[in-house]
């Protein structure tokens, strides 16, 4: 089982759309895939038309009174399941803090029993620096970091890289990719070109800012599913083919 996590300290950078589309593409490849919507806003759950609700809430899952297995829902797509969001996830930091031991590794621990059932797990994280994000970094094999091509975003990536470098033992690979790219902006083009040249972990495929991607919230499905031949779908496919290797 390989675990991918979409993470960025900032919100609105395309984390959820990336997680939803990449998870869909993973399943379409025939890999048994689970997407865990960790964001209490429940955007990923909404996009799969699944109610953002977990019986017993986040507390039951984190403290183990309910297994992840019990809360998983099948999506409309073969080989793709979703662990829905729940509004109680907003308190997840507190719940994780109350876990008996190793509060930064609880999510990794909870995922372990699913190793035989899934080939890929995607974690869609809320935007923050918190105990939840630290858990996610410990659980992930690959940290997918969507970057809007701005100087500040690049700084964020540096900070994240430095933070992960300080981990003892397991460290996720950091794979950044450009998101919400406006091809008409010269600054975007320059930053993309420079960063890809300077950083080995940055994917060459940018995800453009397209209204079709925003339309996912109307269609309530991955763009890769409802418009598979679109520019947006092609971009996600190219990105997935870079990341899965």
């Amino acid at each position: 089982m390989k675990t991918f996590a979409t993470y960025n300290i900032k919100g609105g950078v395309g984390k959820t759309t990336a997680a939803v589309n990449l998870a869909y593409l993973s399943a379409a490849d025939g890999c048994r895939t689970l997407l865990w919507d960790l964001d209490p806003q429940g955007a990923a759950s909404f996009l799969f038309r699944i109610k953002p609700r977990v019986k017993g809430g986040g507390k039951a899952l984190i403290l183990g009174t309910k297994t992840l297995d019990d809360a998983i829902k099948g999506t409309d797509f073969d080989d793709l399941d979703l662990l829905p969001a729940d509004f109680t996830y907003r308190n997840m930091d507190l719940i994780l803090g109350s876990a008996d031991s190793k509060p930064t590794r609880r999510i990794a621990q909870l995922l372990r029993p699913l190793a035989t059932e899934y080939d890929h797990v995607f974690l869609d994280c809320p935007p923050s620096i918190s105990l939840v994000s630290e858990n996610v970094m410990h659980a992930a094999d690959v940290l997918l970091v969507p970057l809007i091509p701005t100087t500040l975003s690049v700084r964020t990536l540096d900070q994240l890289t430095e933070f992960v470098a300080g981990f003892n033992g397991h460290r996720p690979d950091i794979r950044a990719f450009f998101s919400m790219v406006d091809g008409r902006k010269k600054l975007h083009q320059e930053i993309i070109k420079d960063l890809i040249a300077e950083r080995p972990g940055v994917a060459a495929t940018p995800i453009p800012a397209l209204s079709l991607i925003e339309r996912m919230s109307v269609e309530r499905a991955p763009v890769t599913a409802f418009a598979p031949r679109s520019v947006a779908a092609r971009a996600y496919r190219a990105l997935w083919s870079e990341l899965r290797s």
Binding site: R49, I50, G74, D81
Partner: protein, 538 residues
């Protein structure tokens, strides 16, 4: 992800002018009152499928609670092994499926082969039923437009493959509907199943597809057995019971002829030979209740048939045991025996041609046709007939005599007795075994099992003794023949010599074990077990 097969329904078998598919709109209308219904073209599992259920001629997989499907995809496909209830057990891809039935041993390496090779070997996997299935999937959505269950409609046409000469039989199965659960929505699947169950003309599927297919084709599973299994009773006139026993053996002979002639696997000939031996024993031991000239004539005819099959079967036995034989080599290497194997294969091909010609010839046809006619006349005779002896009396008399003969002959055998005395005793033991099997329905099952178990131990020992000798003599004879054909390298002859030496050792071991096995069977305890069996008291 879905879990298919949660609830399976079958639409009622339609009248000729009311095709089953016409009920589908009614089903969808009923479901649309509880869900939004959306067809899902191209859904996983939808579209056309071609598959074939495979099993050995004697249903070894079915009897072991397994089902094997070959699912065709292009020129290749995959093998799917499941339990009788459909639970998947193993699968493996196969690049192509041969036109001829394939031996289980010849399957490519893979998870399915690992599971079934020992069970099915040395038999071939035959196509039992072929199916063409057209599957359509309908999504059942909740108010959010989320798929919460699926309706899978499977329209299946099945065919029973026949030998080249006969036309295939085809049947259409009633439309099968399955509600497939979407993970995390079991309540919705239950709801859909309950809606479906209330639609007139829809009922829960009482049979799996394989069994339904067999039923539609006029067959039932495990419809072949090489056993005795004749319907006889204790009070039946003995002549009728014997006719029934012999008719059953004739059925086995005739059922296996096609497999022998097509040379599908070695066990067709084996079963045919066992039925011939049983027939000969029955004629010899029970023939007194049949018209005298009938028994005499057919004793000779079935001897001819038995002798006809011997050379091919003996060579089959050598070839089947070849691997085990090479494994025993100490001084020689398995490669040394390859010319011997090639010789066996050549000789077997020659003997098989002779056998096949005779089985296609008029003498064999006359035996089977006239024998059946004569036996049916005895079985179905309508006029007054002799009520005595009864079958029970015949069973007690013949079985008791056969047992006493073994006690006498076996008791006279000493370490100095010639090998022939053990060979003769083996024949008597086989005759007793057949008598026990013929009359098994009349015996108490517990007492029967005890006697047969003792007898089997003795038979195994006598079989090992004689087979070792026969095989050793055959190896000598074949070495001579190979030399005459200049097909015998020195290394091969030496390896054959080593095998012959091993057989001599096996025979000596069997001889050493004989006294103990015989004492167990024919000693006071063994005699008491036979007395209980025949007199019905302990």
């Amino acid at each position: 992800m879905t879990t298919p097969g949660l609830r399976e329904f079958v639409l009622e078998a339609p009248a000729a002018d009311d095709p089953a598919q016409d009920l589908l709109p009614t089903v969808l209308a009923a479901l649309s009152r509880a869900f939004t219904v959306a067809t899902e073209p191209g859904a996983p599992g939808s579209g056309a499928r071609r598959y074939t259920w495979l099993d050995t001629f004697d249903w070894r997989l079915y009897r072991a609670g397994l089902m094997l499907e070959f699912e065709q995809a292009g020129r290749g496909g995959r093998l799917l092994l499941s339990k009788a209830d459909g639970t998947p057990q193993a699968q493996q891809p196969v690049t192509r499926w041969p036109r001829r039935p394939s031996l289980a041993d010849d399957l490519p390496e893979g998870a399915v082969r690992d599971r079934i090779a020992v069970l099915a070997s040395p038999r071939a996997l035959l196509p039992i039923v072929k199916a063409v299935s057209a599957v359509s999937v309908t999504r059942l959505l909740n108010a959010d437009g989320k798929t919460v269950a699926r309706l899978v409609a499977d329209h299946i046409t099945v065919t029973a493959p026949k030998p080249d000469t006969a036309a295939d039989t085809t049947a259409e199965l009633p439309l099968r509907l399955t509600i497939a659960e979407v993970r995390g929505y079991p309540g919705q699947a239950r709801k859909a199943a309950s809606v479906l169950a209330d639609v007139p003309g829809v009922s829960h599927a009482s049979q799996g597809v394989f069994i339904a297919a067999l039923t539609a084709l006029g067959r039932h599973p495990a419809d072949y057995s090489s056993g005795v299994e004749a319907e006889i009773t204790a009070t039946m006139p003995a002549a009728v019971a014997v006719a029934r026993l012999l008719l059953r053996q004739l059925d086995v002979i005739e059922t296996n002829v096609d497999g022998v002639l097509r040379d599908i696997d070695t066990e067709f000939l084996h079963d045919l030979r066992v039925a011939v031996r049983r027939t000969r024993s029955a004629i010899k031991l029970l023939g007194a209740v049949l018209p005298a000239d009938l028994a005499t004539h057919y004793a000779a005819e079935f001897k001819w048939l038995g002798d006809l099959t011997t050379p091919t079967r003996d060579l089959d036995v050598h070839l089947l045991g070849f691997g085990a034989m090479t494994d025993q080599l100490v001084a020689a290497s398995p490669a040394d025996l390859e010319p011997f194997r090639a010789f066996l294969v050549r000789r077997r091909a020659r003997e098989f041609r002779r056998l096949a010609a005779a089985l296609r010839g008029p003498r064999f046809r006359a035996i089977t046709d006239d024998w059946r006619k004569a036996l049916l006349e005895i079985r179905d005779a309508s006029g007054p007939r002799r009520r005595r002896p009864t079958t029970a009396a015949l069973a007690v008399g013949t079985t008791g005599r056969a047992f006493r003969k073994i006690v006498t002959q076996g008791g006279a055998i000493t370490p100095a007795s010639p090998a022939q005395s053990l060979h003769d005793l083996r024949k008597r033991a086989k005759e007793l075994r057949y008598l026990l099997e013929f009359f098994a329905p009349l015996h108490d099952p517990v007492a029967y099992r005890k006697v047969v178990s003792d007898l089997k131990q003795l038979q195994d020992c006598l079989g090992e003794f004689q087979d070792s000798e026969v095989q050793r003599e055959e190896i000598h004879a074949m070495a001579d023949a190979m030399l005459a054909e200049r097909a015998a390298p020195a290394a091969t002859l030496l390896a054959m010599g080593e095998i012959a030496a091993k057989l001599t050792l096996s025979q000596a071991e069997a001889r050493e074990e004989f006294a103990a096995r015989f004492a167990r069977f024919a000693g006071p305890a063994g005699r008491e077990r036979v007395r209980v069996l025949l007199e019905g008291r302990s």
